[in-house]
Every structure is written in C-alpha cells, then in structure tokens.
Symmetry: C2
C-alpha cells in the first residue's frame, strides 16, 4: 500500500523549497501511473496542477486514464488548451470521448477544432452515441484483417500497423471489404497455428458480440457472463464499429453495482447520475434522495394513523409506547437483511427464479428462529423490568410475529418485482421497512387491545 | 437474452420422448458454454445430470468453469468418478483447486489418486495455499522464457508449447534458471518488435506483482487499480509461482462487493462464507445474522429505557406516541442513505480521507434541507390532524433535528472507522439506525416535556 500522506508531504516540501523541480520529478518518476493518479487526487487543486505539469507528456496522458472525469477536466483546463490538446491525442479514443462528454458543449467544440482532423472526426463519431451505450463506451481502434490472409501475413501486418497507429491488442477481428464482421482470431490462435494457415480456417465464426445501441447494463452482464477480455461492437448490419475491453467493462460493472447499492437504500439513480450523488451539488443530492424518503414519509404517516386508531388503548396503558421503537427497529432490520441477500443473489446470478420458493421459505425459517429467540429474550426482559408477565408475553409474541413477517416480505418482494420484469433493486429498503413498521405496530396494538386490556 | 423457460421446456420434451438423445444434443450444441451453464442451473438436479452427460467432454469441462462450486461438485459426483477424472484434467488448474476446496477431504483425496501424477502434484501444491490468498487463486501454468532469447525464439517456443500443454496467454514472463522473475513481455510487444530483438532489451522490468500470501481483497484492489489483464504471483524470494488473470480477479471483486453489501446491512461475513449466507443451511444463515441484530436489540432496549424516563410525559399526553415511528423511521432511513453513499464512495475510491470534512458538511446540508422540508410538512399535517399548532411544531422541529443529526452521524461514522483502520463497511446500517433512533426519541420527548407540557 502507498503511504499517501508521506508522499504528498514530500511533494509539498519540494514546493516550499523554491519549487525544487528536480526533487519533484524524482519523486514523481518513482511511481506507477495508477499510483500517481491516487497521489494527485490527494493533493489540493493548485498543487495538483503544479505536480501534473512536472510529469512528462506520455506519462501524463496515461495518468489521466486513471483519474475520475471531473479531475481529468479540471487538469486539462488548468494546463491550458495547447498543452491539453497535445495530451489528448495521446489518449485512447474512448477515454477522450468520456472526457469531452464531461465538458460543456462549447468547450468540447473548442478542443475538437484544435485536434488533428482525422482524430477529431473519430471522436465526433463516438460522441454521437449515447454515453451509456456500447457505442459510447467502445474504442473504434480495432485491428482488422482479411479472411484470405495467412498467419505470417497477419504477423507482418501487426508489425507494420504498430509503427503508425495506437491500438489495443486483445483479439484480431476478421472483416470483409464492407467491414462486416466474419470471425475472430485470438492472439493464442495466431501464435500457435502454423505460419501458412489461412485466417479463414482458424478463425472462430461463432462470435459473441455487442450492438452499438446495447445499454451499458447489458454490456456489463454479457462481459460477466461470457468472460472474454474484449468483445466486438457491431451496427445493425453487422458492420464492425469498435471493441470494448475488459477494463472498460470493469468500470461499468462497478457503476452498475453502485447503482444497485444506492437504489436499495432508497436513493434514486434515475434522476441523478451516481457520480453526482457522491460529488455533485447539494441540490442534486437532495433531488436523488427526496422521492423515496417522501414515499416513506407517507407510509409513516399511515403508521401514525394506525396507532391513532388505538387511541383508547394508548390512553388506558400509555406504557405500551415504550416498546414501539424496539418492534419497528428490529422488524425493519431483519427485513432489510432479507431484501439485501435476495437482491444481491439475483444480481450476481447466485439466485434465480427457479429457486424463489425454496429461498422464500429459507428466509421465513430464519425469521421464525431469530424472531422466537428474540421474542423469548424480550418477554423475559419486559417481565423483569415491568414486573408483568402478560405484558412481557404480548411484547415477545409481537416481536416474533413481526420479525417473521419481515423476512417473508423482504424475501418475496424482490422475486415478485423480478417476475414482473421490474428491477428488484428498487425494492428499496426504506419502503419495505415502512410496510413492516405498519404491520408490526398493527399486530402489537391488536394484541395489547384484545389480550392485555382484558386481563389488566 | 436467453429465454430460459422456453429452452428448459424443450429439453424436458426430449426427456419425455423416450430420451430423444439426438434432439437433446442438437439443442445443447446450439448454445455457448456460458449459456449452457445458465440453462443447467435452471434444471432440476436429476435433469441436470442427464443433460450434462449428453454434452461432449471438452465442452462439458468448459461449462463447469461457468458454474458455481456447489453445482460443479454435484455434477462431478453424479457422473461417476471415472468420468469426472477425465473432465477434471481438461480444466484449468486454479478451477480444479477451487472444486476440490469445496469437497470433503477424503473425496478430494480419492480424486487426486485417480488423476495423472504430475497433474495431481500441481493441484496438491495449489491446495496448500489458503483458498482466499493469491496462491489459492492463481494458476501455476505460466509461459516463461529466458532473457537471452530473441523474439523469433519466443514465437517458436510458444508454438512448440501449445502442442503439449494447456496454458492461458496474457503476458509472457521472463525468469532466470531459478525461476526468479526478471521481467514481463506483453503480447503486443512480442508481436510488434523486430524478430531479432532480444527479450532482455524489450521486456518491462518495473513489474506490478502479487505475493502468494496476499489476501484476496488486496488482490482485488491491485487489479482494480492497475488494470492489467493478468498479474504474476511470486514467493518471498521473488520466484514466479503462477499468474492471476482478470476473470478470476473479476470473481473476487464480485465476492468482495457482496461482502461489503451484506456487512452494510448488518450481516456478518466473518463468521459465515458469503456463499453460505445465500445458499447454506438455515443454521449458518442465523449465525451470520444474529450478532448485529442482537446488538441492535440491546440498542433498542436502551431506546425503550430512554422513553421510560419520560413516563410522566407519556402518561400526561399519550397521543405523542403516535409520532414515534415516524421520527425513528425517517431518521433511520436518511442516515442509512448517508452511510451507504460514503461507504460505497470510499470503497470505489471516489472518496478519500482528504475529502472527509467537505463530504460530511455536504451530507449535513442534505439532512438540514430535507429535514426542514419534512419538518414543515409534518408540522402542517399534525396541526391539521390534531388541531394543535404547538404539537405540530414540536413534531416538526424534532423531525428536522433528527434527520440532520442522522445524516451527520451517517457521514462521520465510516470516515472515523477508516481513520482507525477499521473496515468502514461494518458501520452497519442497523447499529447506526439504532443510535439515531435513541437520539431522535430523546430529542422528541425532551421537546415535548419542556415545551408542550408547559403550554397545554
């Protein structure tokens, strides 16, 4: 692990020593680009630019790839347009498109005019795709060969291309003259087959491919499922448009997981981008969190009305109020655990619809066991505390029922949503917890009214 | 997307038609191994074995890699030891070690004796490493070359190796005669440098590498950070022991994320493996969920005691109990949202300690804004409902304070844990929610006691 504090201190020291450039360069030289990205993020904005300017251009371009978009844009803006343009042409096309997508339209336009024509044309094409579609994620620089070439020709072709062009090497795609995708050659095949073998004879024709308009969650799913290190992206007519590599897919998987986690705790990722939920303005954060909280508010007002129906009971035995938070709290917690387990299982593929019944009963069993255990504990505690065994039993029984119902509801809801093709992650904890609250309170007050009031 | 229901129906039909093997094979032939793994999971165990037996051996071995461990073991056991042994030698070593790790020790031993000697020796070596360390995850089959070879020698060497050995081709590692790791050659370098170039001159000497004892969460972090498609694993003396590839790293990242998600909802992944939390026996599930729930129970009993302190207030104005779930519920929810955002931000690297103060204030602002908004709404609602504006104000002000404190606590806790080198994910929602409950109730009852009682 990096000792970030130590490193940033050493960098700051070089600034204090009348900008000791040599010492600064020495420090920066001794780290990997991914490390430098972490170090730069730890510095204050003005220190960050200063340090970034001291890094040589090739390395600086590579570091940018490891930084989050808002810091990429900040650095490029601060080093001046001329310097920025020089760095940008050294970055992979898909990264550049991501940076531009983060900028204002007129800024992007200004940069595009500064860049070489063929480069800016390709970037413009990428920007035309939706940012969160396969087209918006892919890199257009793919090595393509002709099916009539031989292995030795392909090897020579790669050597010749390497001198004039930046490209990532994962698979080699075989296309016809109109760029229709015909087959795939893995580097392993290329390196292990005889030099004289024809591409057509050794290529794979059963190709897993993506479509330019595929949404990013589908892209993530396909990568996770088939486990290829890169996949080709084609248009409607099967013409090869680009390629998505595993590291980009990895970023999407992370984004999609964040989405799922935020949604499960009732934060809407439909209205606000998940980056902005963490970083963005307070207004955006409020906008993302208000909707489900508001629904929870309505649910809790319904809970208040349920309690209100038992006004007479409450007036007769006010002490029962003491145990309301206990019941609501534990029911909500165990229910949320069930929701969390089922949603995560469904999203990793560990659970599927065929195991729904089995899994729901399993959760119910867990609820009954823990509920009964806690029910007994609470009965004993209340009996001791309030010196009233009947009261203890009412609280304990309510607890057991409430926790069991909570696991049942928590397990059923995600499966039900999935059955109706709704994303189970929106079975957000808060709302189910509120429903469990209402149930729990109703059970408790009913028991108090019909049992306790009779004997007290 | 696969229409799983449709495909499983068609497979079942072939079973009904006096085991129509030809039709079955035709269906199975038309899908990718990853698809077949999904299809097999959808079938009942006895159907699954029947279908699995109809698949030819090479493909069956590949399908196994896409299946979860418990189904791998089930299938291998059901097809008989002889057949299983033939499949196992076709699988990558790291996968085989994972399968054996899932079996009972004597079962593993029985299989190991059936396998070819050199194969079982290598597997035994892998099994000696801890399952969740780099050594337990890596594959030992790595292509190594000598630094004095030339590019053309390496190319010939790969061709000759391909005929006698299974290996994955990502990077080529350069070692000396004692297997010390000296450098790395990417396939890109190999394919683009002149045939006569010496390995020593073109290899990378600054190598990002893993140590056999690195725990799996460190492996996941290093992969996510440096974004290499494969990393070498060395022992204490820098001797190359194996390699971990991005698809294995991907699986670990998924496991670690599941861990984080479960922990955040108060499910202990220390005591029980996350697989078993989803699939395992009810006892295991109870064991994983009991501890934090028990701590929550104690917390909530403290909450009950706080309410009890205000017994006189409660007896004088029992109606105040009506709004207890409302306050506890919304405080808990908005607090959990804050925890979730901060924990996820810290784990993806979007947030770091240097932004702690900024982020805590941002959460507090969100809490104050939504709290004030909801406070006003609740004041108006209560005023209307109970025809008492003072009561309305007390409920509304409690709501605003409670939601603000909730965001503050939710934001501070993960940073604080991280500061003291504790995994922030254990800032489990349930416990913080309980603390927020206690706070909220204390504020509410204090306000009621000192303000409402005076004027009513």
């Amino acid at each position: 692990m990096l000792n970030l504090e130590n490193i940033t201190d050493r960098i700051r020291e070089t600034f204090d020593n009348e900008d000791d450039d040599k010492a600064l360069r020495e420090i920066l030289d001794s780290y990997h680009c991914a490390d430098l990205a972490e170090i730069l993020q730890e510095l204050k904005p003005e220190e960050r630019v200063k340090a970034f300017k001291a890094i040589d251009e090739d390395k600086a371009a590579e570091i940018l790839e490891f930084l989050p978009p808002q810091i990429q844009v900040e650095l490029l803006t601060d080093i001046g347009e001329e310097n920025a343009a020089r760095l940008i042409v050294k970055m992979p096309h898909d990264e550049v498109a991501d940076v531009f997508a983060e900028m204002e339209d007129d800024e992007t336009e200004a940069y595009l005019e500064k860049l070489p024509d063929n480069f800016s044309t390709e970037i413009r094409e990428l920007l035309a795709y939706k940012e969160d579609s396969a087209g918006g994620i892919m890199t257009p620089h793919v090595l393509t060969v002709n099916k009539d070439m031989r292995v030795e020709d392909v090897l020579l072709f790669i050597k010749s291309k390497a001198e004039q062009d930046e490209f990532e090497l994962y698979y080699i795609y075989v296309t016809d003259n109109q760029k229709h995708l015909l087959g795939v050659l893995s580097l392993r095949t290329l390196l292990t087959k005889p030099y004289k073998a024809k591409v057509e004879e050794i290529m794979t024709k059963d190709i897993v491919k993506l479509h330019v308009d595929d949404p990013q969650d589908a892209v993530a799913d396909i990568f996770m499922k088939y486990q290829y290190s890169a996949l080709p992206v084609v248009d409607l007519y099967n013409r090869l448009k680009g390629m998505i590599t595993w590291d980009d897919a990895q970023d999407i998987v992370e984004e999609e997981t964040t989405d799922e986690i935020l949604q499960t705790s009732g934060i809407s990722t439909e209205l606000v981008d998940e980056d902005e939920i963490v970083f963005g303005s307070t207004v955006k954060a409020v906008k993302a969190r208000f909707p489900w909280l508001f629904i929870t508010l309505i649910g809790q007002l319904i809970a208040s009305n349920v309690v209100n129906k038992f006004e007479n009971t409450l007036n007769a035995v006010p002490v029962i109020a003491i145990f309301m938070p206990l019941l609501a709290g534990l029911g909500g917690n165990i229910g949320t655990q069930s929701i969390t387990i089922i949603i995560r299982g469904l999203s990793t593929g560990q659970l599927n619809m065929s195991s729904a019944i089995h899994q729901i009963f399993r959760e119910l069993r867990v609820g009954v066991i823990i509920g009964t255990l806690f029910g007994v504990l609470v009965t004993l505690y209340t009996w001791q505390w309030k010196n009233n065994i009947d009261f203890g039993i009412v609280v304990g029984v309510s607890m057991a029922i409430n926790m069991s119902v909570a696991t049942l509801l928590g397990a059923i809801t995600p499966f039900l949503l999935k059955k109706f093709k709704i994303d189970p992650a929106i079975a957000s904890g808060p709302v189910i917890a509120t429903i469990i609250d209402v149930f729990g309170i109703a059970i408790y007050f009913t028991l108090v009214t019909f049992y306790l009031m009779k004997i007290m």
